[in-house]
């Protein structure tokens, strides 16, 4: 059972980041003698998927820039300025990179906010539990 897939939202970026971390974790396990061929196979398959996703996202952004150059360039310029990628005229040479980066940054910032909220709530409930136990 999965409770439907209304939207990938931050879930998409969350799992993408987890997949990117997998080879590093597995390499650490390899050094400790706890790695396995099956794990590397899973990692290879996931990296294939993630590479495809990133390439197709770039293609999609390029398509948007091509279809609607005006608004797309404005959005790209804003995100490039945010990222410090702006050129002399305030607009980066790569509008496509700007669009992809903007979407990614928004998703990562939202994910970070959710993660921080989870850890803050966990801390709160742990402390509240300790306080109650002491009382």
């Amino acid at each position: 059972m999965i409770a439907g897939l209304p939207i990938t939202g931050i879930g998409g970026i969350f799992y993408l980041l987890l997949a990117i971390a997998m080879p590093f974790i597995e390499f650490y396990r390899l050094l400790r003698g706890r790695s396995s061929v099956a794990a590397w196979r899973t990692i290879g398959f996931q990296l294939l998927i993630q590479t495809g996703v990133l390439l197709s996202l770039s293609f999609q952004a390029a398509l948007i820039v091509w279809l609607a150059p005006g608004p797309a360039k404005q959005a790209a310029a804003k995100s490039n300025q945010m990222l410090g990628m702006a050129g002399v005229d305030g607009v980066s040479q790569s509008h496509t990179a700007g669009l992809v980066a903007a979407g990614t940054i928004i998703a990562i910032m939202t994910l970070a906010a959710v993660a921080l909220s989870v850890y803050a709530l966990r801390l709160y409930f742990t402390l509240a539990g300790t306080h109650r136990a002491v009382a």
């Binding site: 059972m1 939202g9 879930g11 969350f14 987890l18 998927i49 939202t110």
Partner: protein, 366 residues
């Protein structure tokens, strides 16, 4: 074994019919298959036959005929399964499984929905995932048996996506969000320790999975164990299934939220799922149209923003199964199902948390 057993009398060892009351009998090696069934005469034969084809074979195949009014019990019995029948309909899958649990005498038990057929090697796949002693449950790869209607097509994409992308990553980090109830294996002792399947939620499989994590046990995902359930073929059945799933998720959050904080990684999986099911979905439904009207129509492209993120995992997995054309043809149906999902998830949150109307009635979704 080829028998029908009705609910035992008050003096029988199974008299109380609850898992807590099983005597301290030693559990034998092997697997018992439990198949809860209510009016499943159209599909039970395929299910039982697919179990009987498995190697290694199950010690016993028990069909819990939950007072069906059709020939479910007779068909299962004719195929050599043990058919047990409570004195009255149990009302939910959890209670039917608990009734069946009192008959299990093996270390492992496997639950399969009566509309689910197994691919060859499915049980062996799940057994390999149970090799570590700390593992309490495992589930496999699910694919719809029929991919014909718009609802089955949408579900086909959901499953390809979830079981090729989310689940393997969750499993790598040792925290699959759920051991799907339509086909899962469990350590009997651990299920008994939890008192069987709880009836406090309508998502008994998610509830059990999260309870196992809270006990410090492991749950695994075995992609080589493939099963084929019959998915809802029309809106009426889809409505029942999505209502149950959405309410099940919300009820599990309600029951487990205090202990979930202490289960590493699962808490983040649940938090992201919760965000995507509520806030992100709301932005998708309301924010995008508002921005498209007030700022620029280009914002409507936001509806396709995650299309690459959906299509690529689906196509890569479909390529492994030589089903690329079928998968691509089903993508539009996924978008229809996605909007239907929005409604049921919101309705579940609204009813459970705001109106305070809990879903208690278990309705079959196929």
């Amino acid at each position: 074994m080829n028998a029908t057993i009705t609910a035992p009398s008050q003096n029988s060892p199974h008299a109380l019919g609850t898992p807590e009351n099983i005597g301290p009998l030693p559990l034998l090696p092997g697997v018992t298959v439990l198949i809860p069934a209510y009016n499943e005469e159209a599909s039970i034969a395929d299910t039982v036959a697919s179990v009987q084809r498995q190697s290694p074979a199950a010690v016993e195949v028990i069909v819990i005929d939950d007072c069906s009014t059709d020939r479910t019990g007779a068909i299962a019995r004719a195929l050599g399964a043990t058919v047990i029948r409570p004195r009255q309909n149990q009302g939910s899958k959890a209670t039917a499984l608990n009734f069946g649990l009192t008959f299990v005498r093996t270390e492992l038990l496997l639950t399969i929905d009566a509309d689910t057929a197994l691919a060859d090697g499915a049980i062996a796949g799940l057994l390999s995932a149970m090799s570590e002693p700390n593992t309490s449950a495992a589930s496999g790869f699910i694919l719809p048996r029929h991919v014909r209607t718009i609802w089955e097509r949408g579900r086909y994409i959901e499953y390809l996506y979830a079981f090729a992308f989310y689940k393997p990553i969750q499993d790598y980090y040792r925290k699959p969000m759920i051991a799907s109830g339509c086909f899962a294996i469990y350590r009997t002792a651990d299920v008994l320790k939890l008192g069987g399947w709880s009836q406090r939620t309508v998502g008994e499989d998610m509830d059990l999975t999260w309870s196992l994590y809270e006990m410090g046990r492991q749950v695994r995902y075995a992609p080589s164990a493939v099963c084929y359930p019959i998915e809802p073929h029309n809106f009426s059945f889809m409505r029942k299934q999505l209502t149950r799933w959405s309410h099940g998720f919300v009820q599990c959050l309600r029951v487990h939220w205090r202990s979930l904080w202490h289960v590493p990684f699962l808490r983040m999986i649940v938090a992201t799922a919760l965000w995507d099911a509520t806030i992100a979905a709301l932005a998708f439904l309301i924010l995008l149209p508002v921005l498209a009207i007030t700022v620029h129509p280009l914002f409507l492209l936001g509806y396709l923003a995650d299309l690459p993120g959906i299509v690529i995992p689906v196509v890569v997995e479909a390529a492994r199964r030589k089903q690329v054309c079928r998968a691509l043809a089903c993508i539009p149906a996924f978008y229809v199902l996605r909007f239907v999902n929005f409604y049921f998830v919101f309705a579940a949150f609204f009813n459970e948390f705001i109106v305070g109307k809990r879903l208690q009635k278990f309705e079959k979704g196929h």
